[in-house]
C-alpha cells in the first residue's frame, strides 16, 4: 500500500473516527486515501485550519479522546499554530498532521514549504518529520502514545509528500513504551504519608482542583477524598465541573474573576492541597503574598510543575487517579464544620455586592450574568458550556452550573479569542447526545465566524449565544479601571449577526429587552439544530469580583 494509505490504517488502529481538516497540495495523496475510509473516519471540513485545531480541541476536551487534524503544508501549517499552542497550555491531546513538500525539496524554499518541525517544537510535546514511508506506522503509534499519555498535549507529524506516495509493506504495532519518557511517575509512599499527615493535622484545610483531576478521570476519587475529611474545595478555570456545582464542599471558582470566598480563604487556610493545577498567575495573583501562612501540598503528574511557581512542602507525584485514593486511605475523618461555615459570610457578601445585580437584575439593560444563568437553568445544568475568551468566558465560568464533568470547554492558558465557534463544533461531535451551548462576545465571534459554514454543511447542532455589548468588553473593562476610560480601539460596529447566520441557513434571533429573553432561549433549545441567539447586553458591563494583575488574592475588588 502507499504511505498515505498506511497513515489511514494506522489512525483507524489508534481508534480515530473523527478528523478535522482542510485539504491542499502537499497532503492530497492522504486526502485521496481518506476518500476510501469514509466508513471508518468522519472527516469534518472546517473553513480555516485554525478552526480545525480548535474543533479537535473541543472534541478532545469533551470526550477524553485524542483530537486529530489533517492539513496541508506552508500556510496551513502556520494556521494551526494557535491551536497547537493552546493545546499545549491546556494539556489537550492532539495529533496534528501537516503535509510537507517532498524530501528532495526540503530546505529549498519550495512552494508552500515551511519549517514546521522547527516552528512547532517549542509548542508541542513532540514534533516529527516523516520523510520515508517505512517510518509511518512507528511515528503514528508514537504520536498517539505521547499525545494521550501522562500530561497530555499536542503532537505534530510533518508528512513529506514523497512518503505519502511511496509503496510499503504495512505492519502496525502500538507504542507502549519510550525509554526516555516516563509519562506517569510512580507513586511514592513517603510522599503519600507526608501529605496525609499534614492534612490530618490541619485545622483549616483547603483544596484547589485543577484539570489534572479530569484528565485522570479521578472525579469520583476526588469526591471521596474531600468527603472523608470534609475538606472545602475550589476550582480553577480548567478544573470547572470536576465537582458538581451543588456538591456541598464545592466552594467555587478561584482566581482573578473567581469567587470571594475561595480567594480569601487561600490566605486563611493552614494546609493548601493543590490537585492537578499549576498555580497559574491568574489563580495566584501576587506570589509573594500567596498562601504564605499555609503548608502546601501539591499533587501533579508533571514534576516540572512542582516548585515552579509555589514551593511545595509536600509534593506528591503521580496520576491523581492513584495519588488521591492513596491519600484518602490514610486520612482521619474530620468535620471542619466551623471552617466550612466561615465561607458563608464571603458568599453572602459576594451575593449582595455582585451576584444579585448581575444574575437577578430587575430593571435596566440585560446583563451577561443573567443570560448565562438562564441558559444554564434552561438546560437543567446538563449542557456542555463552550466559551470564547474575555468577559463572556469569565461570566460563563462563574454563572453556569455544572452537573457533570467535562462541561466547560474554554481556552484557559493561551486565552485564544476565536476559540468558541470551532471548539463548540468539536464538542458537539465529541458528545453528540449532549446540548452544547457556546457563549461568545461580538469580537471573538468574528474571529472564526467562517466556521458557520462548517456548522451549515455538517448540520452540527450547536447553540451559539453572542453576548453583544459592541465592545471588546474585557479590554474595555481594563481601560475603564486602569487606563482612565481611554477606550482605545475597543468599540465595535457590528454586522447583523442573525442575518449572517441566516445566510448560512442557521436559525437565529436577536433579543434587546429582558422580557424577550426566556422565550428566545426556549426557542433556541426546542430542537437539536444549530441556532444563533444574539443578546444585546449592557454596553459597559463589568466582571466582578476582580483581583487586579499582580495584586494579592486578598485584595479582591467587588465594584461599587
Amino acid at each position: 500500500m502507499t504511505g498515505a494509505q498506511a497513515l489511514m490504517h494506522s489512525m483507524v488502529l489508534e481508534g480515530v473516527d473523527t478528523i478535522f481538516g482542510y485539504p491542499g497540495g502537499a497532503i492530497m495523496p492522504v486526502f485521496d486515501a481518506l476518500y476510501d475510509f469514509d466508513k471508518h473516519i468522519n472527516h469534518i471540513l472546517t473553513r480555516h485550519e485554525q478552526g480545525a485545531t480548535h474543533a479537535a480541541q473541543g472534541y478532545a476536551r469533551v470526550s477524553g479522546k485524542v483530537g486529530v487534524c489533517l492539513v496541508t503544508s506552508g500556510p496551513a501549517a502556520t494556521n494551526v499554530i494557535t491551536g497547537i499552542g493552546d493545546a499545549l497550555m491546556d494539556s489537550t491531546p492532539l495529533v496534528v498532521i501537516t503535509g510537507q513538500v517532498g524530501a528532495a525539496l526540503l530546505g529549498t524554499d519550495a512552494f508552500q514549504e515551511i519549517d514546521v518541525v522547527g516552528i512547532t517544537q517549542p509548542i508541542t510535546k513532540w514534533a516529527y518529520q516523516i520523510r520515508r514511508a517505512e517510518d509511518i506506522a512507528w511515528a503514528v503509534a508514537r504520536a498517539f502514545y505521547i499525545a494521550r499519555s501522562g500530561r497530555p498535549g499536542p503532537v505534530v507529524l510533518d508528512f513529506a509528500k514523497n512518503a505519502q506516495f511511496q509503496e510499503i509493506e504495512f505492519e502496525y504495532k502500538p507504542c507502549t513504551f519510550i525509554r526516555s519518557y516516563l509519562p506517569i511517575p510512580e507513586v511514592n509512599p513517603d510522599q503519600i504519608e507526608a501529605a496525609a499527615e499534614l492534612i490530618n493535622l490541619a485545622k483549616r484545610p483547603f483544596a484547589l482542583i485543577g484539570q489534572g483531576v479530569v484528565l485522570a478521570n479521578a472525579e469520583k476519587e476526588l469526591k471521596d477524598f474531600l468527603e472523608k475529611a470534609n475538606i472545602p474545595a475550589a476550582w480553577t478555570l480548567l478544573g470547572a465541573s470536576a465537582m458538581a456545582s451543588d456538591f456541598p464542599l464545592n466552594k467555587g471558582f478561584l482566581g482573578m474573576h473567581g469567587n470571594v470566598g475561595p480567594n480569601m480563604k487561600t490566605n486563611e487556610c493552614d494546609v493548601l492541597i493543590a490537585i492537578g493545577m499549576r498555580f497559574d498567575d491568574r489563580v495566584t495573583g501576587d506570589l509573594k503574598t500567596y498562601a504564605k501562612q499555609a503548608k502546601i501540598i501539591h499533587l501533579d503528574i508533571d514534576i516540572s510543575e512542582i516548585n515552579k511557581n509555589v514551593k511545595a512542602d509536600a509534593p506528591v507525584l503521580g496520576s491523581a487517579k492513584e495519588t488521591i485514593p492513596a491519600i484518602t486511605q490514610k486520612l482521619n475523618e474530620a468535620t471542619h464544620a466551623e471552617w466550612i461555615a466561615s465561607f458563608d459570610e464571603y458568599d453572602k457578601l459576594e451575593f449582595e455586592k455582585v451576584i444579585q445585580r448581575e444574575v437577578h437584575p430587575v430593571s435596566g439593560e440585560i446583563t451577561m450574568g443573567e443570560v448565562i444563568r438562564k441558559v444554564s437553568e434552561a438546560t437543567l445544568n446538563n449542557a456542555v458550556i463552550v466559551t470564547d475568551v474575555g468577559q463572556n468566558q469569565m461570566m460563563a465560568a462563574r454563572y453556569s452550573n455544572y452537573s457533570q464533568t467535562r462541561s466547560l470547554i474554554t481556552s484557559g492558558g493561551l486565552g485564544t479569542m476565536g476559540f468558541g465557534i470551532p471548539a463548540a463544533i468539536g464538542a458537539k461531535m465529541g458528545a453528540p447526545e449532549r446540548t452544547v451551548c457556546m457563549f461568545c462576545g461580538d469580537g471573538g465571534f468574528q474571529m472564526t465566524i467562517q466556521e458557520l459554514g462548517t456548522i451549515m454543511q455538517e448540520q452540527i447542532g450547536v447553540k451559539m449565544i453572542i453576548l453583544n455589548n459592541h465592545f471588546l468588553g474585557m479590554v474595555r473593562q481594563w481601560q475603564e479601571m486602569f487606563f482612565e476610560e481611554r477606550y482605545s480601539f475597543t468599540k465595535m460596529q457590528n454586522p447583523d449577526f442573525v442575518a449572517i447566520a441566516k445566510a448560512y441557513k442557521i436559525d437565529g434571533t436577536e433579543v434587546h429587552v429582558r422580557e424577550e429573553l426566556d422565550a428566545a432561549i426556549a426557542d433556541m433549545l426546542k430542537d437539536d439544530k444549530p441556532y444563533l441567539l444574539v443578546v444585546n447586553v449592557e454596553m459597559k458591563g463589568m466582571v466582578y469580583p476582580m483581583i487586579p494583575t499582580g495584586a494579592s488574592v486578598s485584595n479582591i475588588l467587588l465594584g461599587d
Binding site: 517544537q121 507502549t176 513504551f177 525509554r179 526516555s180 519518557y181 506517569i184 516540572s304
Partner: protein
C-alpha cells in the same frame, strides 16, 4: 540572587533537532549559554551535552526540569564546580619568527604544560588543557609577548564526582520496570 556557574549535563537519544529543542528552552528564559559541548556518550546511540551558564539555582532547577521533560531526553541534571571534574582545551596559533625572537621558550612550555601540535617556518600551534582561568592566562601572556594569530577554546567537558552513575542506573531501572510489566509501562 547571586549568579553562579552551573554545568548542565544532558543525555539524549541521537535524534534530529535535539540541540534546537534544548537551546530554545534557554532562549525563552533569556539565558545565555556560556559553553556547549556535544558528543556520543559511552552508551551506544546516546549523546551527551555539557552546557555551562551563569544563573541562579532556582532558574537552573527549572531549566533542567524543562529539558528533562522533552520526550527524547533521557536525563538532565546540573552541578556546580564542586561536584565536577572538568576540563577544557585551547589551541593557540602564533607566528614562528615572533616566537623565536623570545629566545628560549622552555620556561613558557614547562610552566604552562604546553603541547606543540605543529611547527613550520610560518607558525606554531600550541595546545593547552586546563580550566578557563588557565587557558585564559596563557592566552594573555602570548598576546602580550608575541601576539596570537588565532585562538580557540572548547566547551567544557565534565565528569561528576558523585558515587551514583545516574544514567546507566536509570536505564537499568527503566528496562527492569518495562519487563516486569510484560512490556507495558504506565499505559493509561
Amino acid at each position: 540572587m547571586e549568579n553562579t556557574l552551573y554545568t548542565i549535563t544532558v543525555f539524549s537519544e541521537n535524534t534530529v533537532g535535539l540541540l534546537g529543542q534544548i537551546t530554545i528552552i534557554f532562549t525563552r528564559r533569556g539565558l545565555n549559554i556560556e559553553t556547549l559541548s556535544v558528543s556520543p556518550s559511552a552508551i551506544k546511540g546516546i549523546h551527551k551535552f555539557t552546557i555551562t551558564l551563569f544563573t541562579t539555582e532556582d532558574m537552573v532547577i527549572k531549566t533542567v526540569q524543562q529539558i528533562d521533560k522533552r520526550i527524547d531526553i533521557l536525563k538532565a541534571y546540573y552541578n556546580t564546580d564542586e561536584g565536577l571534574v572538568s576540563q577544557e582545551i585551547a589551541l593557540y596559533k602564533v607566528a614562528t619568527d615572533k616566537l623565536l625572537e623570545l629566545g628560549s621558550i622552555e620556561t613558557l612550555i614547562r610552566h604552562h604544560h604546553i603541547h606543540i601540535l605543529e611547527m613550520n617556518e610560518n607558525f606554531v600551534v600550541f595546545e593547552k588543557t586546563g580550566h578557563y582561568d588557565e587557558t585564559q592566562q596563557l592566552f594573555e601572556e602570548l598576546r602580550d609577548s608575541v601576539g596570537v594569530l588565532q585562538f580557540i577554546r572548547s566547551g567544557r567537558v565534565a565528569i561528576t564526582r558523585s558515587k551514583v552513575e545516574r544514567l546507566s542506573d536509570m536505564l537499568d531501572s527503566i528496562q527492569e520496570k518495562f519487563e516486569k510489566n510484560n512490556g507495558y509501562l504506565n499505559i493509561q
